[in-house]
Amino acid sequence: MTTSLRIAFLPLTDAAVLAVAREQGFAEEEGLSLDLIRSTSWATLRDRLVYGQVHAAQMLAPLAVAVTLGLSQQPAALSAPYKLGVNGNMLVMASDFAAALDPDSGRRLSDPLGTAHDFAAAIGLWRRKPVIGVVHRFSSHSLMLRYWLASAGIDPDRDVVLRVLPPSLTVEAMRAGEIDGFIAGEPWGSAAVEAGLAETVAIGERIWQRGVEKVLAFRTPWLEENPDIVDRLLRALIRGAAWCDDPANHEALAQLLSDPRYVDQPADLIARALTGQIIVRQGEAPVASPDFLLFSREATPFPWRSQALWIYSQFVRWNMVEHGPEALAKASAVFRPDIFRRALADADVPMPGASMKVEGALGLPLAVGSRKGGLTLGPDRFFDGRVFDPERMDDYLANFVSRL
């Protein structure tokens, strides 16, 4: 018998795995019929999940942690047993503003620290505080932007204005002059570049080489009560993810996502993130960024608890939550490697032996202990060289002198 599952998503390139699990029949082979519900705001996606209108949702990892901690409207215990992607964000700024940055596109992207300092200088030259669009307070985008700005002594709460708006409204807001730039998931940054409204300033891959991004989130009680359905869904997704990572499928994937039911943007814009060919300025040759967006390789979908804790560390850093052992434990428990292991025990995927790791310690790919198959983890450094040891949260936090 086929089980129907309702899953909410936003029109973004990293909804790819959900779309592919449905369209390539991976879900059907697990006896699942996926009803993918397109949403236009994170608030509505969150409400649909929290109030049980959908079974699962493509969620910003920090939002899943925030809802569980009771920081975003109605508190609800959420569980994320699967990561839908790693990396994939892009900061773009109006061309006038970007004129003060390194004109060499390759250098600008490959040296985020230098670019952050140029950015600080550019703020001084701008006629007012630059207004930067972020997709949500509790988004990887906002945390990464804050991290990056602060590295150059820019206080994200004082020196710039962060304005929240959903990805699909970013380009129009640029056009109307309501924002001077924005950080969002693809293809929205590329759409602004292509429209000649903005230039790429930074990409997620260069800020944190393996940055946690969207997760598949469930209400915890539902997840616990339906282990069989959850396991089948995860098996379908892991096959979808492998399909998405295969370069041979990138063109077909871009076509699929361009459909009005999914992202509804031109396929060639969507393809940029998939192939890692990032165009910094309209008409320029792309800069190769092979790790721009990952779906499958290096056990990308594995929900490392240390990544939930990194998110928590940034919440504390920016005074979004009161630090305490209870909140810390709750945040850590949002990521569910135990469910991932259970669901994929018999699947042909490399399985990390640990559930936590030191984030930001790998400068080069490293073969690690895996219960099965060979697992090589990719480099995961933060651009400023800081290392996050989840066992030493307080030392890490003390590291950020007066928040910056």
Partner: protein
């Protein structure tokens, strides 16, 4: 009780406003979610904010409600946890409500119920309108196919329709689809009607 409706569909907002006024609420303002709507909202100091659940501007609104220093009392999303039916009805109808801290549940509930009814009525109206539009265009297509048959095969209007209808039944198709196929074929063959 000051109620602000954030909506960019003029008609839906009007339908909702009328309903609220009929129910005796008279301090109602409509704000489209464009430009500096957040600043306008802050100046209005509303007790209740009603917004289309499907509006992409909800993230912007929630952020403002979270950080605003201008609002004297914090506003949070209103959900009556004890009432699952109400939650479902509100989400299905596409209504989200934000309410100032301290406003009693009993005072908010009638407003929310009314909003749900009005949103549903509006959605129904919209569907009917769409259906009427479709019906109109379908009738035009069938009329054109009929006149092709009447001209080419010298049939009466009634016979032309009967022929379309029987063809549709034989092929297991809708009359409008058969009519459309006939028009296309006729155009290709230079029928020019």
């Amino acid at each position: 009780m000051r109620i602000v409706i954030i909506d960019d569909s003029g008609l839906r907002a009007t339908v909702l406003e009328e309903g609220l006024r009929d129910a005796g609420y008279d301090d109602i303002h409509i704000v489209p979610p464009r430009g500096a709507f957040v600043a306008r909202l802050e100046r209005m100091a509303p007790d209740v904010v009603l917004m289309d659940l499907g509006s992409p501007s909800r993230d912007t609104l929630e952020e403002m409600l979270m950080v605003s220093r201008a609002l004297a009392r914090p506003i949070a999303m209103f959900v009556d946890q004890s009432d699952d039916a109400m939650i479902g009805a509100a989400i299905d109808a596409g209504v989200s409500a934000y309410v100032v801290d301290g406003l009693r549940k009993e005072r908010v509930k009638p407003v929310l119920e009314l909003a749900v009814r009005r949103f549903n009525a509006f959605a129904k109206m919209q569907t009917e309108l769409d259906e009427a539009r479709t019906a109109l265009s379908e009738r035009k297509i069938i009329d054109r196919a009929k006149s092709i048959l009447m001209n080419q095969r010298s049939l009466s209007e009634q016979d032309a329709y009967a022929l379309l209808r029987s063809s549709a039944m034989n092929q297991g198709k809708k009359i409008v689809d058969v009519a459309q196929a006939l028009i296309t074929a006729s155009d290709l063959l230079g029928g020019g009607l």
